[in-house]
């Protein structure tokens, strides 16, 4: 469904992404792990079309993509960002926020679709005519997810979707994402620095450092700690150290 080959991105002197390649099969959720500055979000933004200066190959659903994306691309691919405070228009109601993608794509019966999208992300009907600042952080992230899904995309790009949320809200949003993914057979890429979150949602994982993929492993190998690269081993050790305290 998604094919990235030899992706290279430079910002001036900063060589942010260096020859990254991976494939994501339909219905799969692929995890990109790494620390800030590792290039993981940059890869995601290049796929989304938010970064235009890149070289290499990006293909979605068999279609090789250029720098500019057409409307059909955004019908297929949508993105959810880390910070729901920053990614929702502060002066638009939830209803307005959700109708915008439908207008852009000329989708009819907006009214029923919006009602269904709100129901799907378990937001109360009363939330529809509220402004973002009148909602809690978790509710806002649900609105962002509803906005991404309202025009029925097939690919969802998730950039740290739960790291600005409390752990109890994180659990709800992770369950929601798992349900939606199953119900709509979505293909996803999840970028996160939290190994436990990545292991929870992803079957295949790539670990990035300094703009490169340094290791690739599946969920079972990640959970079992069967990592070869020292950076992956470090990340696993840290994650376990914190987890051991709680159990």
């Amino acid at each position: 469904m998604i094919d990235v080959g030899n992706l290279d991105i430079r910002f001036g002197a900063n060589h942010a992404v260096r020859g990254v390649s991976f494939r994501v099969e339909p219905g799969e959720t692929f995890g990109l792990v790494g620390e800030s500055g590792s290039g993981k979000s940059t890869v995601l933004r290049a796929i989304a079309g938010l970064i235009t200066e890149w070289s290499g190959r990006i293909a979605v659903d068999g279609q090789a993509l250029g720098r500019k994306r057409d409307r059909a691309f955004f019908r297929t691919v949508q993105m959810v960002f880390q910070d729901p405070y920053g990614s929702l228009h502060p002066r638009q109601t939830v209803d307005r926020i959700l109708s915008e993608p439908l207008e852009v794509h000329g989708v009819r019966d907006a009214d029923t679709r919006i009602a269904r999208a709100l129901e799907e992300v378990a937001l109360p009907r009363t939330a529809r005519f509220r402004y973002p600042h009148q909602l809690s952080g978790g509710q806002r992230q649900r609105v962002a997810i509803a906005r991404a899904l309202v025009a029925d995309p097939r690919v969802l790009l998730l950039d740290e979707p739960t790291s600005a949320l409390d752990v109890s809200v994180q659990a709800e949003v992770l369950n929601l994402l798992a349900d939606l993914r199953a119900a709509r057979s979505l293909t996803c890429i999840l970028v996160s620095h939290n190994l436990a979150v990545v292991a929870h949602l992803c079957g295949q994982i790539a670990v990035m450092q300094g703009g490169q993929v340094v290791e690739r492993l599946d969920e079972a190998a990640l959970r079992a700690g069967r990592a070869v690269h020292p950076h992956t081993q470090d990340l696993i050790r840290l994650s376990r150290e914190v987890e051991d305290r709680a159990t």
Binding site: A171, E243, R245
Partner: protein, 287 residues
Amino acid sequence: MSGPSLESEPLVAVRNLHVEFPSATGVTHAVRGVSFAIGREKLGIVGESGSGKSVTGRALMRLLPGSARMRADVLRFGTTDILQAGEREMRALRGGRIGLVLQDPKYSLNPVMTAGAQIAEALRAHKRLGRREARDAALALLESVRIRDPRRVHDAYPHELSGGMGQRVMIAMMLAPDPELLIADEPTSALDASVQAEILSLIEEQVDRRGMALMLISHDLPLVARFCDRVAVMYAGQVMEELPAADLHQARHAYTRGLLECLPSLSERRDRLPTLKRDPAWLAPRA
């Protein structure tokens, strides 16, 4: 530096603290009868956003907005009664005897001053030092927070530093006047996992070496438990449970258990995460 009058007295004593924020739509009761004490030890205050944990920390420094109403049976730091102290005494406390490290060094450091100048300013605000001495002391502090190249960082502006480096500068600045208590409010939430561990072990090391007390405020229960002696769990302005960090896995309160159980795990696969069922009984005023 006057410590508490009796060695047996804790450094910080808080009994029945209430903080309210009146607004046009009603009164928000952010802290409702919180009590705790801190000796020369590390206390973690854990809770979700809106639980009142940060407001509790700010109340200790009387750093609340002017509209806030604060009352307590006891609110004491050393021999200072925080409810009665004059502004002059509070100024000596804030940044002097009590240091405060906040979440994001990007916002808490002055963007138009070099790191070294900010540390020197903190030093000279609370100690009599000449410029030269302040500069040497600032360099020594930067070295003590494990900055490899203190001279470079001394002359750098905040935007030239990474998040982890900025947080080290912030810690150096707060350690400058030799505080007795360090309040760290989500000091690592803006940082990566590995930098997070480095910063917390740095705070731990400095607190132990200087014999300070630490109040670590965070939403991350397992992380706090790893670095503190005791943990107080807050919900809706009240302390639900206080327990030794080592006994966290034996936590009794349903809220604490719920917070631990809803975490995804790396070692163990779970198809669905248990979500927190908020019991209305948790909101009832506690004795």
